[in-house]
Amino acid sequence: MSKRAMTQGTPALPAPWLLATAAAVCLAARATGAAAEAASPVHYVLDQAKSALEFTFMQAGAQNKGKFTRFPVSFDFAPDNLAGSRLEVVVEIGSLDTGDKERDDTLRSADLFAVAKFPQAHFSASQFVRTASGFEALGKLTIRGVTRDARVPFTFRTADEHGVAVGYMSGKTSIRRLDFGVGQGDWRATDQVGNEVGVAFALRLTSAAR
């Protein structure tokens, strides 16, 4: 019994020439991989089920929160090739969820998001800078048909999960809803519903073939 276990547990050492060849192949693979990375960024798409896009807002003096449940992302990114990186986010506004149907319907109505007329919000960025804590995307944010410049700070880390390159992107920022006309008529008032809206995201992105 013990003899069998020992022979099974001890792998035979490969011949030295085999080791040397394997090492050379590995090094070559890494070198070409690095070169490819610098040349063209990795193309990522959103893993919707494992990603979150949330917002917080003041309502009647108290902080309330909500989320979007559909927001496709296309992200071409390489930390060492920021010039070739690109981010496209489409937020399906109709997917908003604040945990209260009455409130959600109000948010979708004409005076607020006007979902019937403006079903999607967009963020597209093609300029990226490195910051002390990560990166910043400089792009255009369009909500309710109004487009404005926006800077979105984020952190990005990659992981190899069962041979698939996965990117984790997270960050938070804040926007003023009235800058985008989210709040017409009475809803322009900010005493009951604040102008400042916090936005936080934690995305799981999977690399996909182009």
Partner: protein, 180 residues
């Protein structure tokens, strides 16, 4: 007028708490009725005020009960029949209970709805229960029913006070009034 209660009269603090809460309860019924048919944003503002006033009543109710504990309670007139004493005691006990049950059911109802309560925008109160639609519906009914019970008790209480003053001609009403 003395600050503390005596065996025959309510002191200034007890009177102030009593009448302030009377005014605030009237405000509460008014705000709740006004909020009913308002569009969403105005309703939000009206109910925010209703919640803030409710939390104020809750705080005052705590003070009031503590003050009652620390002071003598003026005795009921000797002329009262036993059933009247029982009725008075129960009416008062239930009204005290509702001074807590009304704001607490309202607060819980807001938490269950997922709309946290703020006190006039100065600070946000913690949620009493987790968000739960069914619980919210149940608390909404409870809050409304308790309001009807409170309305009935207050009416009975006020009618009894007036009856003491005008029919029985005793000092039950006067000892809760300042400057008398």
């Amino acid at each position: 007028m003395v600050i503390r209660n005596t065996a025959h009269r309510w002191g200034a603090v007890a009177q102030l708490l009593h009448w302030t809460i009377v005014v605030l309860i009237i405000v509460q019924f008014t705000l709740a009725a006004l909020a009913e048919d308002l569009p969403p944003l105005k309703k939000l503002g009206m109910l925010a005020r209703h919640k803030s006033v409710g939390i104020t009543i809750l705080a005052l109710a705590i003070l009031r009960l503590a003050w009652r504990w620390l002071n003598p309670t003026p005795a009921l007139p000797e002329t009262l029949k036993p059933y009247q004493r029982v009725l008075a005691r129960w009416t008062h006990a239930l009204m005290y209970l509702l001074l807590f049950a009304m704001p607490l059911s309202g607060w819980m109802m807001s938490s269950a709805r997922g709309f946290p309560v703020s006190w006039f925008g100065f600070f946000q109160l913690p949620d009493l229960v987790p968000k739960n639609r069914a619980l919210y519906e149940a608390l909404l009914t409870t809050h409304g029913t308790l309001a009807l019970v409170l309305g009935a008790l207050v009416t009975l209480h006020a009618a009894a006070a007036l009856a003491h003053h005008f029919l029985l001609k005793d000092d039950v009403l006067r000892r809760m009034l300042p400057f008398t």
